[in-house]
């Protein structure tokens, strides 16, 4: 992994004084992830280039101390030894410390002297593309040259790589260039190698002094620099803006990447609408004991828990981690014993018979069936309608016809990556009435959300009663 910094302002070799590294020597430094070498490929009155070469030890990355290595870092095949990343920032901070912090004992006058600088990064991952690269550096006065790293023909099938060969030109003190690189390389790479704690906020603010507060992309910078940790990001932004930020807007911007479906439906506040409709059916049914099948993080349970009609609520989900989130959302641990007794979370599956789900008045499966493989739908049906057999069952699922109204969705695309199917109103009606007939339930279908005269409502709801 290489960074070169070229100065073309005569006398160009002043760069060596600033970097504290002798132009005729190779100097090597041990760092936690390997070695850093600094040397000069070019030295003259007119132009001087310093190179910082990171020799990352790939075996140590995987095996070295930190047990929590995850994702790509846990793999020997990964781009970390080759692409500029947070490792580069660490090297800048350790090996070029005095230049970064603006100290030059021998030639202090050079610290604030603008030089004609070009920083070159032969491989920089720009997650967010060239657009983000320019949006980050151009407001700071850089002339940006970026060449996407071509895929070899043999690898064309695997799409474009995220890498660019980047050159950044600006006449400015070296200290500023290094500061910007220090902060913005990891922001572009968007995959920091170390654990992010609270002190990272201070670090960001310290290195961002004088330029970050006014930077148009400050939100993206803070978010990515802090590894998308929402609470840290919010704290950083608050401190940056000193209270003037629109908290709600930021909250929305922070919605995690896999919430695409929610984002799609949010303008309709469809989620809220669905919860209200399902709750209404449950309340009207007079049910006291209710199952929330596929309860996810417990939104419906939280709502039902507020109503005293419901004396026993059981949330079931197949994903263990999601149940932990539900327990947090419901504050299960801190509940009074009386409330605690009303709600239970069960790890279970909707395609297996589960006697623990017998004997309930009602069951809700909100936006669940579309996550079941069509080949397992018969099991879902038998487990619920022949096995558990609650008096009332409420099922909601997307209305595929309505997808035409979502401009963001390509034709035939589903609203969520995990949806196995999305039904038209006719398809849902056929399924629902067949289920009703087989198991002795009367079926009523209702739209949820704004009804389009042609396409119907975005969500369809089936209420089954016996």
């Amino acid at each position: 992994m290489l960074l070169t910094i070229r100065n073309t302002q005569a006398p160009a070799d002043e760069l060596g004084w600033l970097l504290h590294k002798h132009p005729e020597k190779v100097q090597s430094f041990e760092v936690s992830f390997g070695q850093v070498h600094v040397f000069y490929p070019e030295v003259s009155e007119a132009a001087c280039t310093a190179a910082m070469l990171l020799d990352i030890d790939p075996v140590r990355l995987v095996r070295g101390g930190s047990e929590q290595a995850e994702g790509l870092l846990a793999q020997y095949v990964n781009d970390r030894p080759y692409a500029a990343s947070s490792f580069m920032s660490v090297a800048i901070a350790q090996v070029l410390r005095s230049a970064l912090t603006g100290q030059a004992k021998a030639r202090p006058e050079l610290v604030d002297k603008p030089l004609a600088l070009t920083a070159a990064l032969p491989v920089l991952a720009c997650r967010g593309g060239e657009g983000l690269l320019r949006a980050l550096f151009e407001p700071l006065g850089y002339e940006v040259r970026a060449e996407p790293l071509p895929s070899a023909d043999e690898d064309a099938a695997w799409g474009r790589t995220p890498y660019f060969a980047v050159e950044l030109r600006r006449t400015a003190p070296l200290r500023e260039l290094l500061t910007h690189l220090y902060v913005l390389i990891p922001v572009l790479d968007d995959d920091k190698h170390y654990y992010i704690g609270d002190d990272e906020v201070d670090k960001l603010l310290r290195f961002g002094e004088g330029w970050l507060a006014g930077h148009p992309e400050r939100e993206a910078i803070a978010r990515r620099y802090l590894k998308h940790r929402a609470s840290l990001t919010r704290r950083a932004l608050e401190r940056l803006a000193e209270g003037e930020a629109d908290a709600a807007a930021e909250e929305a911007a922070l919605a995690s990447r896999d919430r695409a479906e929610e984002a799609l439906e949010r303008p309709l506040s469809l989620d809220e609408e669905r919860m209200r409709a399902v709750t209404e059916v449950l309340v009207d049914s007079g049910a006291a004991q209710v199952l929330d099948l596929g309860c996810g993080s417990g939104k419906l349970l939280a709502r039902l828990l507020k109503l005293r009609q419901f004396t026993r609520l059981v949330g079931v989900d197949v994903a263990h981690t999601v149940l932990e989130r539900a327990a947090q959302r419901l504050h299960l641990e801190d509940m009074s014993e009386r409330t605690r007794d009303r709600v239970t979370l069960l790890h279970g599956s909707l395609v297996y018979r589960d006697a623990r789900l017998d004997g309930f008045d009602a069951a809700a499966a909100v936006e669940v069936i579309e996550h079941v493989e069509p080949s397992r739908l018969a099991s879902f049906e038998r487990a619920l309608f022949a096995g558990a057999r609650p008096r009332v069952v409420v099922i909601t699922t997307p209305n595929a016809e309505y997808n035409a109204k979502f401009a963001e969705l390509a034709a035939g695309q589903l609203r969520h990556a995990d949806h196995r199917f999305e039904w038209t109103r006719a398809e849902f009606a056929t399924w629902a009435s067949a289920v009703g007939e087989r198991h002795g339930y009367a079926v009523e279908l209702r739209p949820v959300g704004p009804v389009d005269p042609e396409l119907g409502a975005p969500t369809q709801m089936g209420v089954f009663r016996r």
Binding site: M1, L2, T4, E24, K25, V26, H37, F39, Y40, P41, E42, V43, T49, A51, L53, P58, V59, R63, L72, Q75, Y76, V77, N78, D79, P81, Y82, P122, V123, A125, L149, A152, E154, D155, A157, W158, G159, T161, P162, Y163, A165, V318, A319, H320, H347, G348, S349, L350, V351, Y352, R353, D354, A355, H371, E373, S375, A378, S379, R382, A383, G387
Partner: protein, 848 residues
């Protein structure tokens, strides 16, 4: 005096006042763990054996322990005074609840003696009034005990107490040493002609005529009659005579049916309604001599409600017996065995609605029963009803045991019209119908599985939970999931220069374990797949109970559909099926389906995301980054800077990255349609009735090579070599072959013991060991792993957990297949594949 006979499964109440010597008596005759003392429990809960306030809690504890013991069918002695009716009532209720025999042993010791003993005791003194009261209560109780419900009552006095001995008796139903072979015959109802024909069909020799028939079997087989010999049919007396003669001669066993019980009441002189076909019995018996009636009465009297046979592997009862009642004795057990479990309701034909205990049956023993006429005898959860309604014009059916074959003799005619019409046989079997929905209770929590290859395998609750998510969200229909492949360990790490793996270590593993011949197979670099392929979609649906439009299913090693595109999957399967038809593998193996272990190529087809996110970008970044580094170092070198060492190292790194890019590209090619895929089957795991683990790997290789031959454009026969691990030259040749394969870019080879299942001194051996080539390993250990400074550290890797996992998964996978071919309930198959998935969530170095 004679010994006190106590059934093996009993609740024994010691009855006697304080100081009567109960504890001493119990200690003398029973194991310490069999005796539950109320005093001791009082001490446990309160630190004071005399604390009468703790009595309630003490008995709670005592009964809790007693229940746990009785659940395990262990004899339990209640050492308490038991002089009060109330106290004995709870003992009797406990015996009833657990279907154990209630036994009373009374120590009737004079009050004076009790008082003396009590005074001598230093640890406890209850006081004279209380002891006097106990003695008087005891005497009042003596005559009540039988009436209260104790089945055995022993009252001991004076010398008898010291002289008493105890003899433990088997339950009447316990015939576990009787191992058969048997022919278990369903409800006969006087169909004598069919019975004689059926016995003939089963190979019995029938000699004599008229009243004196002698029935014997050349192989010593014996019939077991499941009751309901009488009523409705034409030749009730003949049937009774034959059965009674055989039972008397020890040539048959018989359990009673509800119709026999009614006849018994009649013979004892009770008033009996002539309905349900009893009129025929009454009329036919009236024609027989009176002596015959008395014989029948004695015969029915002697019958035991059910039998447990063959090491408790077989249970026979007229109406079946659920697991919780097996090997026990009580009125409820007898009632169930005779009438089954009814809900108390009646159906539209006025017949009692039966609770279908067989649906919930999870027992280990096979249960064979009759009572309810069914169209055909079929298995459900290891139970089978063999009453096929002969008297209604159906058939008389026998189950051969231990062969488990069903033999049926059609009725000569309809002797009696059934109230409820016999249903035609359904399309799906009862088991398949039942298996359409599996029960979570059979899968979740900490599980212990017993497999043929490994008797005990534990799956933690945590791993089961992980498997549930994968199974529910991603797996194919469980009915197809009859096998999941085990993980495979690499060979011991090689110390050879530049290498991590080498065949020498794989060969050495088997040599040291005492395996002579091994089979070395070329390892294809694709994705592991399990293929169920069938002669026709219809045949598959009949056998697997799941519908498919294709000639089978292909799934990944974690049970997910291998292809997202159903048409593509169908096309590949169709080709394999037609290949099997061309060489008539169906006929050769007498099967409609095959289960194959395969590798499907190219790797890139399934590894798209991996290539896009990880392999290709790393290659691109590596080559570009190192090129730039080399250029900068060259420039510095030209200036005279001392960078020679760095430059050389980076040039070598660049070379390594280029080799790495070559390595993964070899396993990638574009796929548009079925013609672009290659399938390399390497195990023919199972076909109808047989798991082919008793055939060696050469059989697998040769049979599969024949399967591949008609479709060389798609099916790859795997090149292999057989070598003796002791033969140095042979081993050298195999190593040379490996070098040749890997030099040409191959992944490497897999070494397997000649026999599919190999056991050594330490038990089950690794079923296969892979040795991967040095270039292939770049995509596992990183582009530059061959640098000496990296390789040295990478050699430190432990194979222990991987190997333990491989063996456990191997045992489970084969167990799933064995259970499937034996037509066991799906849950028994599913729990094995579920366990393989659960084990896969154990953390193991993913690079091994």
């Amino acid at each position: 005096m004679t010994a006190l006979v106590i059934p093996e499964l009993a609740v024994v109440a010691m009855i006697g006042a304080s100081g009567s010597g109960k504890t001493t008596f119990a200690r003398k005759h029973f194991k310490p763990t069999e005796v539950l003392s109320s005093d001791f429990c009082r001490g446990l809960v309160s630190d004071d054996e005399n604390d009468q306030q703790a009595t309630g809690d003490a008995f709670d504890l005592l009964f809790t322990i007693a229940r746990k013991r009785l659940d395990r069918r262990l004899l339990t002695v209640i050492d308490a005074t038991n002089v009060k009716t109330e106290a004995r009532k709870s003992v009797l209720a406990l015996a009833r609840e657990k279907h154990a025999m209630p036994v009373a042993i009374v120590l009737d010791v004079p009050t004076k003696v009790c008082l003396e003993r009590s005074q001598q005791r230093s640890d406890r003194s209850l006081g004279a009034p209380l002891i006097r009261q106990q003695c008087s209560l005891l005497r009042q109780s003596l005559r009540e005990l039988k009436r209260e419900g104790f089945r055995y009552v022993y009252v001991l006095r004076g010398e008898e107490i010291e002289a008493a001995t105890i003899e433990r008796a088997r339950l009447w139903s316990d015939r576990r040493e009787d191992r058969g072979p048997f022919d278990i015959i369903g409800d006969i109802h006087g169909c004598f002609d069919e019975l004689v024909a059926l016995l003939g069909r089963l190979g019995y020799a029938i000699e004599g005529e008229g009243e004196a028939l002698r029935v014997t079997h050349p192989q010593g087989r014996r019939p077991i009659f499941l009751g309901d010999l009488v009523d409705r049919g034409p030749k009730i007396v003949e049937v009774l005579r034959l059965v009674m003669d055989m039972v008397a001669a020890g040539a048959a066993l018989c359990v009673p049916g509800n119709h026999e019980m009614k006849l018994h009441r009649y013979l004892r002189g009770s008033d009996v309604k002539p309905n349900h076909g009893f009129a025929e019995t009454a009329a036919q018996l009236a024609a027989a001599p009176p002596e015959f009636g008395r014989r029948v009465e004695r015969f029915i009297d002697s019958l035991v409600s059910h039998y447990t046979l063959d090491g408790e592997r077989l249970v026979v009862a007229h109406a079946g017996l659920k697991e919780s009642l097996q090997g026990r004795a009580s009125g409820a057990v007898r009632q169930f065995a005779l009438f089954g479990e009814t809900t108390g309701e009646t159906d539209e034909f006025g017949l009692p609605v039966r609770h279908d205990w067989a649906r919930e049956y999870r027992g280990r023993a096979i249960v064979v029963y009759g009572h309810t006429p069914v169209p055909v005898a079929e298995w459900l959860n290891r139970t089978i009803c063999v009453d096929t309604g002969c008297v209604y014009g159906g058939a008389l059916t026998a189950l051969r045991y231990p062969e488990l074959e069903v033999v049926a003799e059609p009725a000569r005619r309809v002797y009696c019209e059934s109230v409820k019409p016999l249903q035609p046989p359904p399309e799906r079997s009862a088991q398949q119908e039942h298996d359409a929905l599996l029960d979570l209770a059979d899968l979740l929590g900490k599980r212990n599985l017993s497999t043929r290859l490994r008797p005990s395998l534990t799956i933690s609750a945590e791993h089961s939970a992980a498997a549930l998510e994968v199974m529910s969200r991603f797996a194919v229909d469980p009915r197809w999931l009859i096998y999941l492949p085990p993980t495979m360990s690499p060979s011991e790490t090689s110390q050879r220069e530049g290498l991590l793996e080498h065949p020498a270590e794989a060969l050495a593993y088997y040599r040291e374990a005492g395996v002579g011949a091994v089979v070395c197979e070329q390892k294809h670099m694709g994705s592991r797949a399990v293929m169920i392929v069938g002669r026709s979609p219809g045949a598959l649906a009949r056998r697997f109970g799941a519908q498919t439009a294709a000639h089978g299913v292909i799934y990944s090693r974690t049970g997910r559909p291998f292809f997202a595109d159903a048409a593509l999957e169908a096309a590949l399967l169709e080709r394999v099926a037609s290949s099997a038809t061309q060489i008539d593998l169906w006929g050769e193996l007498d099967t409609d389906w095959l289960c194959l272990d395969c590798e499907i190529l190219p790797w890139s087809a399934k590894a798209q995301a991996l290539l896009r996110e990880q392999y290709a970008p790393t290659g691109a970044a590596g080559e570009a980054g190192l090129q730039a580094s080399v250029a900068a170092l060259r420039a510095a070198a030209e200036r005279g800077t001392e960078v020679a060492g760095l430059l050389a190292a980076h040039e070598r790194r660049l070379e390594d990255v280029r080799k790495y890019r070559q390595a993964y590209r070899r396993y990638c090619w574009p796929v548009q349609g079925p013609g672009d895929y290659k399938i390399a089957p390497f195990h023919l795991l199972a076909s109808e009735g047989r798991v082919h683990v008793d055939r060696d790997h050469v059989w697998h290789m040769e049979t599969l090579a024949r399967l591949c031959a008609p479709a060389p454009e798609m099916l790859l026969a795997t090149p292999y070599r057989v070598v003796d691990t002791e033969d140095e030259e042979g081993c050298a040749a195999v190593i040379a072959w490996w070098e040749e394969l890997t030099a040409a870019g191959g992944e490497g080879m897999v070494v397997k013991p000649f026999d599919f299942v190999a056991k050594g001194p330490k038990g089950l051996m690794q079923p296969a060991i892979k040795c991967r080539g040095p270039e292939y390993l770049r995509i596992i250990y990183g582009p530059e792993y061959t640098a000496p400074e990296h390789l040295g550290r990478l050699r430190a890797r432990g194979l222990g957990s991987k190997r333990s996992l491989a063996i456990r998964e191997f045992a489970l996978g084969l167990e799933a297949l064995e259970r499937f071919v034996r037509r066991e309930p799906l849950r028994r198959v599913h729990e094995c594949v579920f366990a393989v998935l659960a084990l896969e969530s154990e953390p193991v170095d993913p690079r091994l």
